[in-house]
């Protein structure tokens, strides 16, 4: 397949025909898998999962230098790493179509039936179409699409519209949403920090020290204390550093051990299909 695509130049129509045929074949295979009865599908999924996981496990545990020339990194399985990874990327990209289909389908229904808040759905559809068209044009047509001047204004290119959509639309909206956190943290901390017990008092005291240690205000407030010697510890930035390094980090390590073991255990159960049917039907 790789040879086929490499032998056809990108500009040749046959390249796109081959591309479409490959996508169609992929969809066909997925449809075929979907049509399989459960008793056949289940062992097939288990086998594919096992083989996929086996490659990564074997590649990790087989010592470096096995089956490869001296000086080459990795073992005989390592050169296939990219190819195996590409398979998962390709399979994953099929689902993008599914996601877009689900998203557009739902909002088309809401907009066409004028359900509650249908204006938002319409806005989503317009934004989706505009962003798709102008991103594709920007990628493949550069600045070649010129929109003629209207009512005395100078003409603009597709790239100009893309910049407006990206910087003025997407980037600004994204930043605005992130900025909301600043407001929400105020209301959340105002509501949540109540001194109800000794533990809550300790929590609040350490939170205030760490907060002040992380900003210039803290350094300014205790800036009069010496920077060396026993009193230096009481500068906010040093107390904050102590809490983060000596109290927070060990607790974090302990939680991380637990989480990492959870990931290891779940991975093993999935790889070896020990969780028979947990996601799709009853065990």
């Amino acid at each position: 397949m790789r040879t086929l695509f490499h032998s056809i130049p990108h500009t040749h129509p046959l390249y796109y025909v081959a591309l479409l045929a490959t996508v169609a074949a992929g969809i066909g295979i997925l449809a075929l898998l979907q049509a399989l009865p459960t008793r056949l599908r289940r062992p097939l999924i288990a086998l594919v999962t096992f083989l996929g996981g086996l490659y990564y496990a074997a590649e990790f545990f087989i010592p470096t230098g096995w089956g490869v020339h001296k000086g080459v990194d990795g073992n005989f399985l390592s050169p296939y790493f990219d190819k195996v990874a590409n398979i998962s990327s390709v399979l994953g990209s099929f689902s993008i179509g599914l996601g877009v289909f689900s998203l557009i389908g739902m909002h088309l229904r809401i907009a066409s039936r004028r359900r509650e808040s249908w204006g938002f759905s319409l806005m989503l559809l317009i934004s989706f179409v505009a962003m798709t068209i102008f991103t594709l044009l920007n990628e493949y047509a550069g600045k070649s699409v010129v929109i003629p001047s209207v009512a005395g204004h100078s003409s603009i290119t597709n790239h100009d519209i893309y910049v407006v959509l990206f910087n003025g639309g997407l980037a600004s909206l994204d930043s605005a949403m992130f900025a909301l956190i600043g407001f929400f943290i105020i209301s959340a901390s105002y509501r949540a920090f109540r001194i109800r017990s000794v533990e809550a008092t300790l929590l609040m005291a350490s939170a205030i020290i760490v907060m002040l240690g992380q900003v210039t205000l803290g350094s300014w407030l205790t800036g009069g204390l010496p920077s060396h010697g026993p009193l230096a510890f009481f500068r906010f930035e040093n107390m904050s550093e102590y809490i983060l390094v000596h109290l927070n980090a060990p607790a974090q390590r302990a939680v991380t051990f637990g989480l990492a073991l959870g990931v290891l255990a779940t991975s093993l159960r999935l790889w070896l299909s020990l969780e028979r049917g947990l996601y799709f039907d009853q065990e």
Binding site: F60, L103, M177, A188, V255, L259, L264, L268, L272, Q282
Partner: protein
């Protein structure tokens, strides 16, 4: 670490931990399933589902924004059990996902929950929604769902990042009971400040075992605990070795302790 041979001691240690977990899973499947302690946050699930039914408002589930990864699968695993409880009460479940790959898996999980509760007719595929794979577009989408649907309960489980506070604070504002669990240590403070219950650390992975009483999952949890015990022993030995290296004069014991520490050096 690229390969086990880069640092054999760590490679072998990972293999030993895996064997312990697998051994415990197999023994639990064959023998009497072990019991594990109740997790406080899980009591809230029934309370939240019951309250949502009384109020006639839906329940929201979000499996994080990390894609089709282990935390998301774990979250869906828990959602399957919660979904069954929701279905038994005849209530509605909304699943909002940030990765298109989760649409299919999520749909299967929720459909299966309604089917196994004997209420397949209540399942609505439109309630499994892919909102966006962009972090903050997704956050605004979820916030919109919470506001418009006035959800009575929300379960936020999986990999969350900066959007955690936006989602949970909006849920707080509409008065939803919120239960959160995440593998992201940095997001725990936000969830603790805004949610009613938070499953901490590996409680997230223990939740499905506790809810399902599935021998495989229970065995896995016990295996994880034994593995944790082994890590704890190594940590204690490492600490003692470090002290010994600092305090003992050069000699055989000193070298032995140093060699032990080197085994686990990155």
């Amino acid at each position: 670490m690229e390969h086990a041979s880069d640092h054999w001691s760590i490679g072998i240690f990972v293999a030993v931990l895996s064997i312990i977990i697998l051994y415990k899973i197999v023994t639990a499947q064959r023998g009497k399933p072990p019991t594990i302690r109740r997790i406080a946050g899980l009591n809230a699930i029934d309370e939240a589902v019951g309250r949502a039914t009384e109020m006639g408002r839906p329940i929201l589930m979000v499996p994080g924004i990390g894609g089709l990864d282990i935390p998301a699968l774990q979250a869906l695993n828990i959602f399957g059990y919660i979904g069954r409880s929701v279905a038994r009460f005849g209530n509605r479940t909304i699943l909002a996902v940030a990765d298109p790959q989760l649409v299919g898996v999520g749909e299967e999980v929720i459909r299966d929950a309604y089917t196994s509760a004997g209420r397949p007719e209540l399942f609505n595929a439109e309630d499994v929604r892919f909102l966006s794979d962009r972090q903050f577009a997704f956050a605004s989408g979820v916030a919109g769902v919470i506001e418009r649907e006035k959800v009575a309960a929300s379960f936020l489980m999986g990999a969350f990042f900066a959007e955690s506070l936006i989602i949970a604070e909006v849920g707080q504002r509409v008065g939803a009971i919120q239960v959160a669990a995440t593998n992201q240590f940095t997001q725990l403070p936000f969830f603790i400040a805004t949610c009613d219950y938070v499953l901490l650390g590996d409680e997230f992975y223990a939740a499905s075992a506790y809810l399902s009483k599935n021998p495989t999952l229970l065995g896995s949890i016990v295996g994880q605990d034994y593995a944790k015990l082994l890590i704890l022993i190594v940590v204690i030995l490492g600490t003692l070795s470090a002290c010994g290296v600092l305090m003992l004069p050069a000699g055989h014991v000193h070298d032995l302790l140093q060699r032990f520490m080197d085994l686990f050096k990155s």
